[in-house]
């Protein structure tokens, strides 16, 4: 599902964020991405979403070489990747329902189809009763779950999460992780960037560890 082939990323200011990464994640696999802050976790996720381009090497998502991808194709790549953002990236000018409906709207789904699938996703994260609220009225944990509902509403084969438990208490963190576990069970490839090492250890999945831009654990040998 994800393959990094000797990938390096150097920013224009000369900062080398990632150095010669080699790893692959199989379809349906769940993986953690850890490392100190500034180790390059976010950059790695940005490369997968093609928010950034690799300066060297090649990134393959679902067999597609991202460095050869035309700009016009990027939206269609992103429709196949559900992303849970650290800062949620919710829109406060519309309801929870409309926030979750956005990916379906972009895909051009039919209105009653949208309603059904949004409710199913909200039900999944336990927020069905709050669909008409503005996300600003929700707690941090609830906002995070709205973000998760939006990430999975169009059933992407790949799910990325950037510090999804960053601001949550241990119990909520466990609940969120349980959700991700459930998505993995139905075949979604899940990649979670986190520095919550205790949680990572408890879950018992493969761990990719970045240190100053280099993959020190979990990569291809």
């Amino acid at each position: 599902m994800i393959r990094f082939d000797n990938v390096s990323k150097r920013y224009e200011n000369g900062h080398e964020a990632l150095r010669q990464l080699n790893f692959s994640i199989a379809p349906g696999e769940m993986c953690f991405l850890t490392g100190h802050s500034g180790a390059g976790k976010s950059t790695l996720l940005k490369l997968i979403m093609r928010m950034e381009n690799a300066s060297q090497g090649q990134v393959f998502i679902n067999g597609q070489n991202l460095s050869r991808m035309r700009a016009g194709q990027v939206p269609y790549l992103r429709r196949n990747i559900g992303v849970v953002f650290q800062n949620h990236q919710l829109l406060f000018d519309r309801t929870v329902f409309d926030n979750v409906a956005l990916p379906l709207l972009i895909e051009g789904a039919e209105p009653n189809d949208i309603a059904r699938r949004v409710r199913a996703a909200l039900d999944k994260v336990g927020l069905l009763k709050k669909e008409k609220l503005n996300p600003i009225m929700l707690s941090g944990g609830e906002q995070q779950r709205v973000g998760i509902a939006r990430a999975v509403v169009n059933k992407p084969p790949l799910l990325l999460a950037d510090e999804p438990t960053g601001n949550l208490d241990p119990q909520l963190s466990a609940e969120v992780m349980h959700l991700f576990e459930q998505f993995r069970e139905v075949g979604v490839t899940v990649l979670i960037a986190t520095h919550d090492l205790g949680l990572v250890a408890r879950m018992g999945h493969r761990v990719l560890t970045l240190h100053h831009g280099e993959l020190v654990n979990g990569g291809d040998v």
Binding site: M51, L77, A109, D113, R116
Partner: protein, 369 residues
């Protein structure tokens, strides 16, 4: 475990799930400000049966793609209209600026075409006098007049015989007595020719004059061109000035709309970022802003049309009074329905163009980071 989260690849599975209850449509509408209209206007959906052949499946896919594309256009058109109307004062001011910029050249253009109408009534201004040679007899002169009347480029010919000329001269000049001392009539016969093709075309008139001059019977042909020429050049100059003004004010419209759209883009920056993150295409992101531009332009065009018509109504009385003083039945000519349509549509097109400029300039800057 529900079906949520089960991954699938786009296309094949998506359509098979659209046979759900229709009851949720109304509820979905309630949670979306423009949803009610969207659901109502939705085309009756064909029951999705299992497509047997690949061809029919791709046909259904193309059709539903088109449907969803049209649905999004409709939604964005309504949504952006709603946003424009939600800030009535700001929108009204934008519309007023656009209306003034559109109405000004249109008004001047109307003024010019009315002026042209007035001057084309002053036929006498460009009549030509053909002084015939002294040896041309009365019969020959009348025959020539008849021949000239046949010509397409001549509207009317008036024959003044030598005797008539003499009589007129005696009557108006005050030298009547002196003429009695002359033996014979020194005045030539005259044909007064009124050209058909009038209203400014100097070249044609000069050509006509030259051809008349070349006639064997004609001693001299005269045309008071100075006056006509002056009018013609003033008209041409004014027309060019109005055109230049129209271009400048058209650019002003583009800039005003562009700036308004730039602000709208800035206001919705977060939304654009999120839409791009979850896979919105550039066209998807662009669409609401292009519609916003169209609404501004359309509103400006309609308002300009109103301004013009109110001004015409306001001027109508004085113009009629003025015309009656000159014993003329002249009436102001306004915008006919075709002109009105062009005026309003060009407003909408300018708005759309202005939005394109702003979107092309600023949307690329907003990328998720």
């Amino acid at each position: 475990m529900s079906e949520v989260g089960k991954p699938h690849h786009r296309g094949a599975v998506t359509r098979s799930s659209s046979t759900s209850n229709t009851g949720s449509v109304a509820k979905a509408g309630a949670s979306h400000h423009q949803g009610a209209t969207t659901a109502k206007k939705q085309a009756p959906r064909k029951p999705v049966t299992e497509p047997s052949a690949g061809a029919s499946q791709s046909h259904i896919k193309t059709k539903s793609k088109l449907n969803s594309w049209l649905r999004h256009h409709r939604m964005m058109a309504l949504d952006s209209l709603w946003r424009v109307l939600k800030a009535p004062i700001a929108s009204l001011m934008t519309w007023a600026v656009l209306a003034i910029a559109i109405a000004l050249p249109t008004g001047l253009y109307l003024f010019l075409s009315n002026a042209q109408l007035v001057t084309s009534n002053w036929d006498g201004a460009s009549q030509m006098s053909l002084f015939l040679k002294m040896n041309v007899t009365e019969q020959k002169a009348e025959k020539l007049a008849d021949e000239l009347r046949e010509r397409g480029d001549i509207a009317a010919v008036q024959y003044i015989s030598k005797q008539q000329a003499l009589n007129e001269f005696k009557e108006f000049s005050g030298f009547g007595g002196a003429l009695d001392y002359l033996d014979g009539n020194p005045l030539p016969s005259v044909l007064i020719v009124r050209p058909a093709a009038l209203a400014g075309n100097i070249q044609q008139q000069e050509q006509l004059l030259r051809s008349l001059q070349a006639l064997p019977e004609v001693d001299e042909a005269q045309l008071d061109l100075a006056w006509v020429k002056r009018l013609y050049y003033i008209m041409e100059l004014s027309q060019r000035m109005v055109s230049a003004l129209a271009v400048l004010l058209g650019i002003a419209v583009l800039l005003v709309v562009g700036n308004t759209i730039r602000l709208a883009i800035e206001n919705r920056r977060d939304e654009i970022v999120v839409v791009k993150l979850v896979g919105g295409t550039d066209a998807f992101v662009r669409r609401p802003f292009l519609y916003t531009g169209i609404w501004y332009g359309l509103g400006g065009g309609i308002m300009a049309w109103g301004i013009i018509n109110i001004s015409l109504f306001w001027l109508d009385g004085p113009v009629k009074a003025l015309a009656s003083v000159y014993a003329s039945s002249f009436e102001l000519v306004g915008l006919n329905s075709g002109d009105s349509l062009v005026l309003i549509l060009s407003g909408a097109i300018l708005g759309w163009l202005g939005a394109w400029l702003a979107v092309g300039r600023h949307l690329g800057d907003i990328e998720p980071r």
